[in-house]
């Protein structure tokens, strides 16, 4: 007779087979369906999605305070969220739900705006006079988003970043070299930094009152989109050789002096209500070709090469002011053209 222990093991094995085999059969997917896996970083930000075959559907990077740099497909092309369909998760910064209409992050007690790194309402926990970090009740994670997160919108939590930081200190001989688990608990009760409150705080405390409407002429923000007649002349795209630039010069001048501007895909067409360019018609347009094309157009219009210095704004004949703005902090390179006689202003962005 078999010992009781062996009988028990055999019965358990049999039960496991009975349960596991149909379960395995259930894992077989219906045609046209798929399982999407979301991968996150140490803060809980979703950084990649893959399917059940291991294919990457998208990946994205998140800036420290949570602003996304945009989803990139496996082929390396950046798309808007809409194009990824069901592969887009509702989870966002630090694993919280995101309102895709506004891109605000819902942190349970409050909404958080990753663009400015601030909450839109004050901390419901209140202020403690013993902790100056609590005085700014709109700040996020003690203004230290790599080290802290805010799981509930009420209190910061010291997490994995801190653990790794202390581990690193230990490995490198810096700091005390020990992970102090007590600090995690302690920081659950910590609040917010106090460096920003006055104006924004006051504005936020005012709540989201109805925004005033103006009876004056005002600007017509994008209202005239498509209504104005502009040339769709991609003057600078791919322009590189001198011969072509010389040709472009005459044509570009003529186009601009006739009131037909240079870029394509006009957006943000508006009448400027106040300031130096009052009553001018402004529009933003874009074309391709990056810095080379921007410089080529600048040369074509002004006969000068941009230097990156203050001399890169030229007033040329026909009442035109042409400015070159290099790529850098301001994003892609741009040419800005003020046409004093036609009262138009165009900002042309040169995408790669």
């Amino acid at each position: 007779m078999l010992p009781m222990r062996i009988v028990t093991c055999l019965i358990s094995l049999l039960l496991m087979l009975i349960i596991a085999l149909p379960a395995q059969a259930d894992m077989k997917l219906e045609p046209g369906t798929s399982i999407i896996f979301y991968h996150h970083d140490l803060l809980g930000n979703p950084v990649m999605a893959s399917d059940h075959k291991g294919r990457v559907l998208w990946y994205e990077n998140t800036q420290p305070y949570g602003e996304s740099t945009g989803k990139v497909s496996s082929s390396g092309i950046r798309h808007s969220d809409n194009l990824f369909g069901e592969a887009v998760t509702e989870l966002g910064y630090t694993g919280h739900a995101v309102d895709r209409n506004t891109n605000l992050v819902y942190m349970k007690a409050r909404h958080y705006d990753p663009v400015i790194g601030r909450f839109y309402s004050n901390d419901p926990v209140g202020v403690s006079v013993s902790d100056p970090m609590l005085f700014n009740r709109y700040a996020y994670a003690n203004n230290n988003p790599y080290r802290y997160t805010d799981p509930t919108g009420e209190n910061v939590s010291e997490g994995v970043g801190s653990f790794l930081s202390e581990l690193w200190e230990g490995a490198t001989g810096r700091g005390d070299g020990q992970y102090n688990g007590g600090s995690v608990k302690e920081n659950f009760s910590n609040g917010y930094d106090g460096d920003w409150g006055d104006v924004a705080g006051a504005a936020a405390e005012d709540g989201f009152n109805a925004i005033g409407l103006f009876s004056g002429a005002g600007l017509v923000y994008a209202a005239g989109r498509g209504a104005l007649k502009y040339g769709a002349y991609r003057a600078a795209a791919g322009v590189a050789n001198k011969g072509l630039v010389d040709t472009l010069s005459a044509r570009a001048r003529k186009l601009i002096q006739n009131g037909e501007l240079v870029g394509s895909n006009p957006t943000a067409i508006r009448t400027i209500g106040t300031g130096r360019l009052r009553e001018f018609t402004a529009q933003n347009t874009s074309t391709t070709g990056g810095t080379d094309s921007a410089q080529a157009l600048f040369r074509a219009l002004t006969g000068k090469s941009p230097t990156g210095g203050p001399r890169d704004r030229f007033e040329i004949d026909g009442g035109l002011e042409v400015s070159f703005r290099p790529a850098g902090n301001s994003g892609h390179p741009k040419i800005e053209i003020v046409n004093q006689s036609m009262k138009t202003f165009e900002k042309i962005t040169f995408l790669p």
């Binding site: 506004t102 103006f214 004056g216 210095g309 400015s323």
Partner: protein
């Protein structure tokens, strides 16, 4: 919460950071350009709001010769427009009409950001 309110908060945040010297005119310009180019913001923004007006100005602040001197007026415009929109608008237009832009252009002529 509608987009106009969100943008208003962002604009206030930008102006406050600029006023405190935490960010530069170029940073302000960069953010305003990015938000202006965002189609969702453009389509949902209340075009008559103070936030929309200021955002459109910051989008071209180098051409408009807007400097940190103008920040208090911009914040005032946002605040006052909630109380009396037409009065705030009048004050706003009056403020800009009394600026000597030729003088500003001379002052800013050597500033790389404004001049280029």
């Amino acid at each position: 919460m509608i987009m106009s309110e969100i943008i208003e908060q962002r604009v206030v945040w930008l102006l406050d950071g600029w006023k405190r010297g935490l960010i530069s005119a170029e940073d302000v310009h960069h953010h305003a350009e990015k938000w202006t180019a965002d189609e969702r913001i453009a389509s949902e923004l209340n075009e008559n709001s103070a936030a929309a007006e200021i955002l459109s100005q910051l989008d071209i602040l180098n051409q408009q010769l807007i400097t940190s001197e103008d920040i208090p007026e911009m914040l005032e415009f946002i605040g006052e427009s909630k109380k009396n929109a037409s009065e705030a608008r009048n004050r706003w237009e009056k403020y800009w009409s009394q600026i000597d832009f030729s003088k500003r252009q001379q002052t800013l002529a050597e500033d790389v950001f404004y001049a280029c």
